[in-house]
């Protein structure tokens, strides 16, 4: 559906370099990356809102690189909803109708369906400034869907909502993506959001694509230290490999399969590292003993830092478990993780 080839964009301080991406029809594609990576610029380049320096963008096989935004058939939804403040909700939703040849009856039917589906019937005569975040989001969605675009671009649609609304809109987006043939292209800096919504994803870093693929692959098989730490693999170490063993500093760690390079990285998710007071007796596990050198409060969880010789491992422990095990800074504990939990790259 969307094919981006060697795209280069210079916009103020932002530089997109050699971006290539391919998104299939009906995909829910999520573009992730830290703030300032250039995600929104890429989104706006696809919509035709920023000038392209080099490369091409194809939509449905058509080269749209030089096409004005109004001819691309791409809806866009911003984090701040961008509803027209001087128009009522009805007029906001119907704004795009006059540019699409549509029979009055079809339009009215579609309008009715959208208003019902999104539950915004009671808002129609009001102005945007009197609506809550969740309501604004629904109206913005209705306005974009009203002209049936082939693609909807979403710029951090959930980040301005509070937790309850976020869950609701997330489900709604997923439902719309499944029931329509519209391709979704969403930008976010929140990895957990991507996990629940995306079929495919890409991670951006400083104006380039760091990795792209299925969301599962990104989650479990990061190809670089940047992606690994972005997807929450907090234990990333450079290592020397020798068969099924990796040497990290003076520690020897079992890995699932031999690496094709003598040097590289290993990564372990913090939730895969188990803390116990007694040594864990099992042959398949990597087990070490160490000293707790830090505990970071994360609400329901503690991120516990354990120093094993010169290497610091990070593990996640529920608060209840931390009290049961009497975990505290300076305590001596045992940590263990399966060889299969170690990702090698």
């Amino acid at each position: 559906m969307i094919n981006i080839r060697n795209l280069n964009v210079h916009l103020g301080e932002f530089r997109l370099r050699d971006i290539s991406l391919s998104i299939d029809p009906g995909d829910f594609f999520v573009l992730m990356g830290p703030t300032g990576a250039g995600k929104t610029v890429l989104l706006e380049a696809v919509a035709g809102l920023v000038p392209v320096l080099g490369g091409n963008i194809f939509i449905g096989g058509r080269d749209v690189t030089r096409m004005p935004p109004e001819e691309r058939g791409i809806g866009i939804m911003y984090q701040d909803y961008a509803l027209f403040p001087h128009l009522t909700i009805v007029r906001n939703i119907k704004y795009g109708l006059r540019y699409h040849r549509l029979e009055k009856e079809t339009a009215q039917k579609r309008f009715g369906r959208l208003v019902d589906d999104l539950g915004i019937g009671h808002l129609l005569k009001r102005y945007p400034e009197t609506l809550s975040g969740g309501e604004l989001q629904r109206v913005a969605l209705a306005r974009a869907l009203m002209v049936e675009p082939g693609i909807i671009l979403l710029d951090e649609p959930l980040s301005a909502l509070d937790q309850n609304f976020r869950e609701e809109i997330r489900l709604l987006l997923k439902k719309i993506n499944r029931s329509s043939r519209i391709t979704f292209f969403m930008v976010t800096h929140d990895f957990s959001e991507a996990l629940t919504l995306a079929t495919k994803a890409a991670i951006m870093c400083e104006g380039t694509i760091a990795q792209t693929g299925s969301i599962r692959d990104l989650f479990s098989k990061p190809a670089s230290t940047f992606v690994a730490s972005f997807v929450g693999m907090k234990n990333v170490f450079s290592a020397q490999f020798n068969g099924n063993r990796a040497c990290v500093d003076s520690l020897t760690i079992e890995v699932p399969q031999p690496h094709h390079h003598p040097t590289g990285y290993i990564a372990v998710r913090p939730e895969d590292i188990v803390i116990s007071l007694q040594p864990f007796e099992s042959s398949i596990r990597n087990a070490f003993s160490g000293v707790i050198c830090g505990m970071i409060d994360q609400g329901f969880l503690y991120e516990v830092h354990i120093r094993v010789r010169a290497v610091v491992f990070k593990s996640l422990v529920t608060k209840g478990a931390a009290i049961d095990l009497a975990l505290d800074i300076g305590a001596v504990v045992h940590i263990s993780f399966k060889a299969s939990a170690v990702h090698v790259f």
């Binding site: 103020g12 706006e44 919509a47 035709g48 809102l49 004005p68 935004p69 109004e70 691309r72 791409i74 809806g75 866009i76 939804m77 911003y78 701040d80 961008a82 027209f84 403040p85 001087h86 704004y95 795009g96 540019y99 699409h100 102005y127 306005r143 974009a144 002209v147 675009p149 671009l153």
Partner: protein, 261 residues
């Protein structure tokens, strides 16, 4: 609330001083002429004609600024390019140039010694001593105020609204008419008021380019020179009253209300 300190009282007395400084001469002038004199002045056709000319030429200057200044203000608000600051400084130039110099500068290009002046002459357009000349001068001095006010107004409108409009199929023209302009109209009005106010008060530049036909400030000056303070005051009062009521009306329109438009 606690006791107010010396800082407050110094600020307070400075404020009183400034207000007195502005209001005292104005109130004195407005109250000096008797009712009979004001009535008599109103029957003077020269006075009526000059006040009308003042309003008419200032409004024309605002109209011209609206037509050519609006797109420029939009461009300056939305784009970034090298030399933008230079262009902005050029637009501000009429604000800082001494008024008679403006008149002299305009006469320089409108005279018969200049190709532009010759060109205009061929088409029968006269700048020197004509209404056209007055409007030219007033546009020159008033335009920067319009452009600056509107530029700030455009900058306050999120470009995302325009982006969304275009993604829904609207062209840039259509987007401007349906989204940008309706959201900026208050700034447009404020800009027009500023431009008009500046234009109506212009004296130095106009007097160089066109002593006749006589705009109100020139008439007031002439009466003052010829007959003294007493004869110029009633005309001044009428000019101020007419301007104030016009601006007040526009200002009320521009005030934020419950969802006008």
């Amino acid at each position: 609330m606690g006791r107010k300190g010396s800082f407050f009282w110094v600020s307070f007395s400075c404020g009183i001083m400034v207000l007195t400084f502005i209001l005292l001469p104005l109130v004195e002038m407005l109250t000096a002429p008797s009712g009979a004199m004001l009535r008599e002045t109103l029957q003077d056709r020269n006075v009526i004609r000059s006040i009308w000319l003042s309003i008419y030429t200032a409004a024309s200057a605002a109209g011209i600024s609206f037509l050519v200044g609006t797109p420029l203000a939009y461009l300056l608000a939305r784009t970034r390019f090298r030399g933008k600051h230079l262009i902005e400084s050029v637009i501000d130039l009429p604000i800082v140039i001494p008024h008679p110099v403006v008149g002299i500068a305009i006469l320089g290009v409108a005279g018969k010694n200049h190709w532009l002046g010759q060109y205009l002459h061929e088409f029968g357009i006269r700048i020197m001593g004509s209404t056209t000349g007055i409007i030219t001068v007033l546009t020159f001095v008033g335009m920067p105020f319009y452009i600056n006010a509107l530029k700030a107004g455009f900058e306050a409108i999120s470009p995302r609204l325009e982006n969304v409009s275009r993604s829904l199929g609207a062209s840039m023209w259509s987007t401007f008419v349906r989204v940008t302009f309706p959201l900026a109209w208050r700034s447009v009005l404020v800009g027009l008021i500023m431009c008009c106010a500046r234009a109506i008060s212009e004296f130095g530049a106009v007097v160089v380019v066109a002593y006749h036909p006589m705009i109100a400030p020139v008439l007031i000056y002439e009466r003052y020179e010829g007959y003294g303070l007493q004869y110029s005051q009633p005309v001044a009062v009428w000019l101020v009253l007419v301007c104030l009521s016009l601006f007040l009306a526009l200002r009320l329109l521009a005030l934020p209300q419950n969802k006008a438009s």
